[in-house]
Amino acid sequence: MIIDNFQHQQSAHCESGVTLGLLRYYGIELSEPLIFGIGAGYFFGHLPFVKVSGVPGTTFRIWPGYIFKRVCRELGVKMQVTSFSNSGKGMQALDRALAAGLPVGLQTSVFYLSYFPPAYRFHFNGHNLIAYGKEGTDYLISDPVMETATRLSASDLEKARFAKGFPAPNGRMYYPVQTKSSFDLPAAIRRGIKKTCWFMLSSPPPFFGVHGIKFLGRKIKKYPVKLEPRKATLFIGNIIRMQEEIGTGGGGFRFLYAAFLQEAAQHLNSPALLEASKEMTNIGDAWRNFAFAAARVMKERTGNIASYDELGEMLLVLGEREKAFFTHLKTLV
């Protein structure tokens, strides 16, 4: 079976992409930047004690599931969300939903998604994709970060949905059961912006928001003293990966947010937001410069104190800059 009028669209980011795909099927046409902005997806966090393979965690986005939940609430979309303790039951429930003609959002691990290039396949359990049909033993998959729609064998999909580790997806599946025909888009945009300002400015220091950026800057300055060179370059490399490799639309979601502000300026008829969008683009460019400089330090592998100091300084400046930005943005909505 195949859900005919389901259209695949590639997005920068999996969660906003899945939200876009599911809502569009029910006639709600929103761009990825609008979904990301209304869902208040922009964030920063650095958690030195939450380590993955010994490397401290850095994030440029809000926690998984938040964007999706927030957008649905803002637009009055009711979702059916189900998790399973038994994988067989989880696969049957998926088949039933597909047979009923419903495209289904699924949380999965990336490790078992055979259509990804091998080097991307880590045990990352926060991925999202849409199943929109089944042919024989293959599921038809619309994975928003892929260029085209693809397929996945039932056994791979089952493994991916019921992967273990943290966060365990437990076969989580979701689909809209009720949508509203009208909603107040400008109000939703305003509330999304306000929420992001709050996340960035008022999250508890030192790990989150603008504090988190400066906190990481101070940490990086100490890397050459505290860590052996090998480890220091791995830590730096992980920041680059979180910023650029995992579907962020470039510059750790900063360009995606600038695109959102540009659209928001139109919907709210606000030239000031258009100006803010330009500054956000500049901030994104500064993050790209940081990644470029970080890659150079990684390449040297010498643990040169001066170069780590320079990297840390870049983040201290970026932290101040984002602080000024969101303090100003707060006054615009």
């Binding site: 080097a119 490799e245 579907g247 360009f255």
Partner: protein, 135 residues
Amino acid sequence: MKKEEVPHDKKIIHGEDNSLVKVLYVTNQEGAYETTRYEGWEAENLAMSQAWEDIDEKIARTLELVKKGELSPIAYYMEKNLMDLPTLSSYVGSWKFFVKKHLTPQGFKKLSPKKLEKYAAVFNISVEELVHFNG
């Protein structure tokens, strides 16, 4: 970022093209945002290949220790499957304390056939391959 500044650096890892065509948000000549596609950027490619070098070294080191009889084959397959102790323990459904024992040759010898089967299934190999390990 301006559209004309978008890098197009292929991701070569383990000597093979691992590029994934991704969406990037860029500004056009009028300063308006649009999306474009790109395969990778030198900076991120470098970060990824460094992460893989680290993994490959860890696998090679573990393999040596298994051959020397200091670690069990489970230790090797754990690294090979990019798992750490917490991940592996949640897959086999045992406490970390026990899994840690199974990483030693002594603990490995005491494993029941049922437990061996469980490990083999997690690593997607046969029990035979796990028990008669030859790298």
